[in-house]
Symmetry: D2
Subunit: 369 residues, 4 copies
């Protein structure tokens, strides 16, 4: 309602500002009995962390997470889990000159109108830094989904600006700084990013994320559709401007005889639907694509106005990612995990009485890489 809680049965309430004392979240609804420690969460945070390569912001934050509640003797108790991340590297002077002006493409202008007051330090509440607590919460969700249902979630970058990146080798995703599922483009991407950074500009990206092993039957028919909740979660990530499920905008030109995935006794013959029909999972891979806009904070001069409405020129010299999409893969994975765990719990509440004998088709492997 007030915009800072995600989920209904597995609820994550996010708090903090980029340069305040701390950021974090409270997870309410995590089932009891799940083994959990900081070591389960830190690796995902490290994947999203700034300063890991020269292609992302050089802000240097360890992003060390502390579990403040909800875990006793290494096991979740069913009570709220508070995860705290102290902010340590706060060079707020970088932003001082921006407090009275609005960066084109940035939330400065809209926050100022909505709240009448805003924390300008590092983007305050609108900073992408606030995705860190979601990655942390997503790690808890992933552990539960994996241990209870064997669900695996993974993502990769499929385009960085003009460079399309095939999904051809998932083992490469963490072998390059771009989350590309290919080894062939790393050099080209390095050069592309170096030129971009030199030009003072930024660029967009396209991501893919999928969940494997989701059982058939998760979701709800009219408004809490699994795909609608995924669209909500993904469009809520900073800078996302488009979301597709399965074939996405490709369906516009498709015929029904092509799009409708045939069912065979051994399983679905294809997965144009992206694992969701009528808002409910089919048991196939849940497949999602995202479009991420270029960073709005760039070095190139842009026309804008100040809080008095007077024209100004804005150049942003702080530490910014020239392509925010690069660090967004772990975020998209986390949000998908959070959607799925919520539907898992909803399904338990409402469909525990349901017993469907046959056929539960085997989930089909994704043939696209």
């Amino acid at each position: 309602m007030s915009g800072n809680t995600f989920g209904t049965l597995f609820q994550v309430t996010n708090f903090g500002e980029s340069h305040g004392p701390a950021i974090g979240c409270v997870i309410d609804g995590c089932p009891p009995g799940l083994p959990l420690s900081e070591a389960d969460i830190q690796p995902d945070l490290d994947r999203r962390r700034p300063g890991t390569s020269r292609h992302v912001t050089q802000r240097n934050e360890p992003d060390a997470v502390e579990i403040l509640s909800g875990v006793y003797q290494g096991v979740t108790t069913g009570t709220p889990i508070c995860l705290l991340i102290r902010n340590t590297d706060q060079r707020s002077k970088d932003y001082g000159n921006l407090t009275m002006t609005f960066r084109p493409g940035h939330a400065d202008y809209t926050y100022w109108h909505r709240y009448g007051v805003r924390d300008p330090r590092g983007g305050g509440r609108s900073s992408a830094r606030l995705t860190a607590p979601m990655v942390a919460a997503g790690a808890v969700a992933r552990k539960w989904l994996s241990s209870r249902h064997g669900i695996e979630i993974r993502g990769c970058m499929t385009a960085l600006g003009d460079v399309d990146l095939p999904r051809e080798d998932w083992s490469q995703v963490h072998q390059n700084p771009f989350f590309a599922a290919t080894a062939r483009h790393t050099q080209a991407l390095e050069a592309y990013m170096d030129a971009l950074r030199k030009s003072g500009d930024s660029v967009g990206a396209r991501l893919y994320v999928e969940a494997r092993g989701v059982p058939v039957g998760w979701g709800a028919p009219l408004f809490d559709k699994l795909d609608a909740d995924i669209a909500y979660a993904m469009m809520g990530i900073n800078a996302v401007k488009g979301v597709e499920i399965g074939d996405g905008f490709g369906v516009v030109r498709q015929r029904g005889s092509v799009h409708g995935d045939e069912l065979l006794p051994q399983g679905f013959a294809s997965n144009h639907a992206g694992g969701v029909l009528g808002g409910i999972s089919t048991g196939q891979d849940v497949q999602v694509h995202l479009a991420i806009k270029p960073t709005s904070s760039i070095r190139l001069p842009r026309r804008s106005i100040d809080v008095e409405g007077q024209p100004v020129t804005v150049e942003t010299h702080g530490r910014h990612d020239p392509c925010v999409g690069i660090r967004a893969t772990p975020i998209a994975e986390a949000m998908l995990a959070l959607v799925l765990v919520d539907h898992a719990l909803q399904h338990r509440a409402q469909c525990a009485d349901v017993s469907v004998p046959t056929p539960r088709l085997p989930a089909q492997p994704d043939d696209q890489g």
Copy 2:
């Protein structure tokens, strides 16, 4: 939570099945004092209604709406408004042979697994017929948005299968059966649809919907973002597989120096953002694109299985839209209205104390048609 209520402060709870006694909704949270009668709602229902041209399903339903509560002497009282639409044309024999099999691309399979029981008559709860109550609720939302804030919502089809449709003349939208904002393509579309129907196949579509006059400052920062809620609403419409805000997937290849909309004292210089920054409205037009998949119920034979897992061949001979996108424009408009009215009320709750002197830029006219 249970999937049939939309919104938080202006809540719409939808009920009914395609071939049950009635469909309808309850609106809770409509502010008191709004003049309202069936005549405010019926025109939008008529635009979505089946049987209006040979290109849509020939099911013949008047879809007459009855206000059962919440209105006294022609004015809303602030109490729940129940809108009832009786089903009258129920040829359920058309579907009888489908109850034991699953149509490829249809929700049959997933409903059956989620609920263990389903109403197969006309698609039951998964029928696009259930969008009618949302169009009715949307008409109430639109009236409030228009009378309180001068907001206008409109939409059109921008591609029907292979035929791209320019947004060049809004006055044409209701002059052709395709909701096309152009007069030049009507004949081509007629021929295209006739051939399609003859082939027994179906095709996808692309829609555009916009809201004009939305004030700056509506939305919430982290999870109840205006654009996230729009994505949720749109992806929740039957058959939608992709949603874009503003430039959408076009941002992947854009540079930040192009994408970030500059601010001038007289207003924004462009609207790549689609009227939303940081999840909050900018005061510009809110612009949304949708991809709608081809109808799954087609005459062409498809391979499938029955509830025992045995292979079958499915041909659907009921009355179906060969392109469900054709009647979807009023639905997308209604859902956009429902998102906006909710954010309008949230804004009143939380930001009534806020007073921002300058600058509230004039909303910019959309230059794309």
Copy 3:
């Protein structure tokens, strides 16, 4: 949020006005597979119905319920169940002279200030008639609780004005028009009520309601406590001014050595707690007491003001219950059922992983009648 939906996983949205076309509700979240027809609901409605004895309002309504959705071939489908009750006996002229004045003790005054407009016919939305849809929804909840968990809910009147009524014989509850669990006081109550009616005055009542067979472990610790939700549900019934769980206000003078219910291997030794500890059910009977205020609409002249603030004298001559508590027992039972079904579903969602070996004590019989 907007005040007309009860519950979170088993949600009931209530609509209608006393003298509008219809009243009813939509139940969202009822699990699929429950056999259900109007015959399961009507008996509870009949127990609450007006006109059943000379001690209640003489309004003559059959209160016939119609299931509009959510049931197919006599079984719930997991989709929303709309229950409709048409209003038939609407003598709104009885109330005509009251539209410009405020009845002392009535919601007239507060509705008028909150909404600026109100439906004055028969109390409009504030009429106790709106409890009928809750009784209907409660009947669905009771059937599920009974068939899935063997839970039985029952209630009785324990005081009518100055007459205390012992809980000594549950078989008598439906043998007298007062829902008294005793046969010894019927004549006294008849005389008491006749005198009251003759005097033109009204009187309060005290009710008791209990649930037997609730498993240990339903509820939530901090805010969605089972007893807190019961208090919310009961205080929300028209005219209720006090709620007690277990020993209620009797605990003020109790010692801890008396109040704390000892546990023996064969079960609890007593039930001062009323079946709830720390907001979670103990497996004992859940015991609730209510205080119901006297009807505000009485024949005796009262001082009041009109909408201009001018002094007036108000006498109410419509058909009113001289003791609204008489018909409230089925309502309290229904609300208790609705709270329990919601917690049952929440428990399934969040505690399905939990397995506690011993000891699950046998639920103890209530020794108080």
Copy 4:
């Protein structure tokens, strides 16, 4: 839903365990622009704090609150406010021998069944210590209610076990360790408590809390009634077993001609309703009474069982309040504030269009002390 979030528009999510690293809460929905610092919150925490007299637990905690987010330059920003209280005095050895047994009257037994695992240190999540974050959140709510609406909230103890305490002098409430609104009983109470402590037993209490200056028109008609929400909030406080609004259980024997508060041009003639009619505030004082059970942890030996179901004898020797009611007054005040701020924001959302000319009666002073 998951039991740890209170409120809808002004949402407070509580986390922590009695002997974990920290307790705290996140407030989401606090309007922007409210001046706020730790100094606004600490005084209320200090009133609830343990160790302030010999009549309460001797646990020595400073309960120092830290604002982690949502405030910039001393003013709320409209974003989530995280309040953190580190636990410092954790003598968990006191409880070691209790982990395998269940204390009569305590949540041990029910938590164990619900969660299968529990944090036994100091009662873990069921400890009354978790009311501290609510008192902190309530202080924020009170500041907003006071500065925006001039609302004042106060409470006192009206019975400690067998000793009734008149509401005769509000200035005395903070002059004695019992929150009694009278100076005449302090000595008697001291002696009563000393004898109780010596006996190793505990006792119940009765509290009164009121809000003065609440405008007419706050509340909702059917389920989010102001009084229902108050009942929910109060029954959710640890150890509360009964809640009354206005005359409470006294209404059972009242006549309608007495109970219904007459309206005069200068205001209401009485306040039997306790400031709420039809679930909506009347503009009079909102008056609430609570019954609080005796502490379940006592030194006297009690019969119980262990987790294997074997009989044991339990004596509790930790530091416990012999009357938990003594420190409950600030908690009840805080919960009342949290209910009111939520309704204030709901009213803004839904009734901003409402303009009612006359009569808004002057709020009447409470004549009972």
